[in-house]
Symmetry: C2
Subunit: 376 residues, 2 copies
């Protein structure tokens, strides 16, 4: 705990330096049902349902929904239960700013995710201060911090990858042998094995889609009682969470005889994955990798309806983005952990996707996970 | 399908009437990772990752992330894949408004959940129209529509409650007999039985907390590998989803000998639940019921750190709120389905909560689910 306390403190000190440089006196982060942000957890260890305010002097106040939980989990200077303000955000925030001695007139930043009507209400209610809410502010800075994993986080990812790889190997064996036959079997196997081996949870709802449903990028429902690994193309997309950090991998199962179209899709996705992995190194714009894969598919007359990948961490999707969006300026740096997940989908032939987690290193990259397209 | 198509259409017609009465030409709903709203599903059947625009003439355009999925699931006039706009919201919205012939200068409403910075960008990019984003707008109107279940929804809730009650009975037997011993056992039993019997998914991450962890309102992690139903107080909070609609129940397990404090907590929660259920009928302000329970606990020197209940439906938490918040003006009406979930928590003695789903009827209420505090 002492170690993590100092880790949280040093992260908050970086935030304090950043806001000081921007002339901001205090910044608020929040993680509630309306807008989840694990930056709260990243900065103090509290797992959710709270807002956190950090001052330019690195002081910190947490306003949690569950006081008992905060007393056990949060490493902050002060805890003020939200219920003591009747869960009224404006009055809680006023008390926090007064306790922190944030001078009247000073700039106070709100989360970028805050809704327009709610922000307008806060501006009116907290008119003693100069409120700010914008893209590219401190939220974004913390996402940038989170996108470069530190030693503590890299050690967690070794464990997360190890458990993920153990599951991948077992899943390959069990789907091949017929030990796991249905989407439900496979999804519950993951849930059980992950939790039994120390995972906090799965990173997102496991997607297990047999040949009849793999046409969907994210099958709906995410898994059902139908078969998986039968003739055609099946997709299995899952992640496991260790101490808040998720892995994110997709296996595909291809059982022949495949149609020529299916065989082509499998070959193209495999080749695209290898092309992507070979391009991952520091200094490369993430968008260029996405563009290379897009071009590769286009040459064969195919197109991928989703991003090539994304950063992972305390969220299943975080910075850096590995996509073609106009605003994507991310350049890979050592410590990024990204997914590469080329996939192709067809309403009749089904879908195939291959996804692994890739750590950017000083000299190139290391693929952390062993997911594959399993030919049955 | 024909029936659901006409149900979606008539819901959209109600939305169209509402916006027409407000002088609004088109309204946008959205359900993306940043801000989930199953109103999209409620209004067209598409399960997520899309925005939907409805015009004052009840015309509708869906902009989905997954075109294949939309072609199978969505009942709308037109589908425009988001990828064809590079997932740029402003340009997609411009095309939709042009296709719908929304006149320049007309009012166009955006979701209340839209972030402040994003809304400001849309205002700048779509300056041919008069944009609106406010609390109490069409989002709120649709939440009000959703809070009164129609015949289709009541029929779904009969099935959801039936399956939930079957699980409750089995869980009581299996925890009592020792057939399910750990949090993991119990949570996976629910996941498996629910999906095997037609549930789309569980309504939220099941919370299974043995005596060492039941002090948390929402235990963290939500379930682990520890024991449940052992000496002291355990909490099991779960919901199952049928066609998008979730149940939400909490069982508690109390294994003696209990400490005097634990026994008092159990008795108070049971009595509070009965008091709450006896107060549920049309015309009653939901806040009054929450206040009665608050007063009841206060007489014994206890206080409950969370709301007494909430509406359920396509979301686990929706209107009407059954809480003490200043802004809560909800008055119960027939067709509301709410939870009642009194609970008490102590850092050492643990927690106890009893939660059932209650349908408000013409004459009073009907408790749909059979959850209980099981004395072991």
């Amino acid at each position: 705990m002492t170690t993590m306390q100092s880790v949280y403190r040093s992260r908050r000190e970086r935030v304090a330096e950043f806001i000081k440089s921007k002339g901001i006196a205090a910044v608020r982060f929040e993680d509630f049902e309306e807008a989840r942000s694990p930056s709260v957890r990243y900065l103090c260890g509290h797992p959710g349902d709270a807002f956190l305010v950090i001052g330019a002097d690195a002081s910190s106040v947490l306003v949690p929904w569950d006081e008992n939980m905060a007393n056990k989990m949060a490493s902050v200077d002060k805890i003020l239960p939200y219920t003591s303000f009747g869960r009224r955000s404006e009055s809680a925030m006023r008390s926090v700013l007064e306790i922190m001695n944030v001078p009247k007139g000073a700039r106070v930043e709100f989360p970028e995710s805050m809704s327009y009507p709610s922000y307008i209400e806060h501006v009116a209610a907290l008119d003693d201060w100069d409120l700010v809410c914008e893209k590219g502010g401190t939220d974004t800075e913390v996402l940038a911090m989170r996108s470069v994993k530190d030693e503590v986080e890299l050690e967690i990812y070794e464990r997360a990858s190890g458990l993920t790889n153990s599951l991948i190997a077992q899943l390959e064996d069990l789907v091949t042998s017929g030990g796991l036959k249905t989407e439900l079997d496979v999804a519950l196997f993951i849930e059980k094995e992950a939790r039994a081996h120390g995972a906090e949870r799965t990173g997102f709802e496991t997607i297990a889609a047999g040949p009849g449903r793999s046409f969907g990028i994210h099958a709906f429902p995410s898994y059902g009682n139908g078969p998986i690994g039968t003739k055609g193309l099946s997709i299995l997309d899952f992640g496991i969470v260790i101490e808040g950090y998720t892995s994110d991998v997709t296996m595909s199962f291809a059982r022949g005889p495949l149609s020529p179209e299916q065989a082509t899709m499998v070959d193209l996705v495999q080749a695209a994955y290898e092309l992507g992995a070979s391009a991952c190194k520091p200094g490369v714009p993430a968008k260029d990798i996405a563009q290379a894969i897009d071009n590769f598919f286009a040459k064969s007359g195919f197109s991928m309806p989703h991003a090539l990948g994304h950063g992972i961490g305390l969220e299943a999707h975080e910075a850096p983005g590995v996509n073609l969006r106009q605003e994507n300026k991310a350049v890979l740096v050592p410590g990024n952990i990204i997914t590469l997940e080329p996939g192709l989908y067809h309403p009749e032939f089904g879908g195939v996707r291959l996804e692994n987690d890739v750590l950017i290193t000083e000299t190139g990259c290391r693929v952390l996970t062993n997911s594959k397209i399993v030919m049955l």
